[in-house]
Amino acid sequence: MFPTIETVHVFALVLVVGTIMTVDLRLLGLANKERPFSQVASEMLPWTWVAFSIAALAGMLMFSSKALTYYGNIPFRLKMVCLLLAGVNMAMFHWLGTRHLAAWDRGRPPLAAKFAGGASLLLWTTIVAAGRWIGFTT
């Protein structure tokens, strides 16, 4: 049972990370430079949410199998903190970072938007690393 749920979790999370990184790389000007940011984001982010819902659900099931062990696990706590920070970063970008979107949608994003993209890239890499470390420390 656990390996099956874990497989669903991994499958969903690679799609979460892949779609988010596509958006992050556009913000940083490293991919899809010739396309409007809003187009890249609206193509990718609906899939991100679908995959994230599946990954979160599977993650909760995995957590419930050994809740106390995971709760006390340092990489698990690090992962949860980074997920929270990634959420805050995304919300701040959504509310503040896109206020003048029309001005840079087809061009280079302002520094604050680039920062949000870089932070997201870093946080999601840490989330994957911490997630993998849970399996080696429980």
């Binding site: 999370l13 892949g18 396309r35 193509e43 890499t125 994957v128 470390w133 399996g135 080696f136």
Partner: protein, 161 residues
């Protein structure tokens, strides 16, 4: 034969060095997973277009041309990190049925990606030219989606079989 090779490899200096560093396997696996994220997302974006689930955005030929370098670069990263993991724990990988199935699926996916790209290099409209080509494109897209998910599944099951 393979058993003896695994035995020999696991006693080499490089394998012992990797084994003795606790952080090595999780670190390499993290890089492996991030590369899978980029590869699978690229493959799925293109497959969904081939199938016809997504229509808007850039033409298929432009999409394929842009994703090509990412696809082959991440495949190289996956191969390198996979070799490092195999050197560290040869028997865990080479004697494992899930690993063997995974390698066959990776070859199949690489073949499909190559086919899609080569056909479009000759004519960008290749996969949309006629109803029969569109049907073939849909079948190829569905196959790529299923094989991609199967690779992830087989990969995770290496740890359990």
């Amino acid at each position: 034969m393979i058993e003896r090779f695994c035995d020999w490899l696991s006693r080499t200096g490089i394998s012992i060095a990797f084994q003795s560093a606790n952080w090595f396997v999780p670190l390499v696996q993290t890089v492996h997973i991030i590369a899978i994220a980029i590869l699978l997302t690229s493959v799925y974006v293109m497959s969904f277009r081939l199938i016809g689930i997504t229509r808007a955005g850039q033409p298929l030929a432009v999409l394929a041309a842009k994703s090509t370098p990412w696809v082959w670069a991440t495949l190289c990263v996956l191969l390198s990190t996979g070799i490092l993991l195999t050197i560290t724990e040869p028997a865990r990988e080479l004697l494992n049925w899930a690993f063997r199935v995974k390698m066959l699926l990776v070859l199949a996916l690489a073949g499909i990606l190559l086919l899609v790209q080569i056909r479009m290099r000759k004519s960008p409209e290749y996969w949309t030219e006629s109803p029969s080509r569109r049907r073939a494109a849909r079948a190829i897209g569905i196959a790529a989606v299923i094989i991609g998910a199967s690779i992830v599944t087989a990969g995770r099951w290496i740890a359990y079989v």
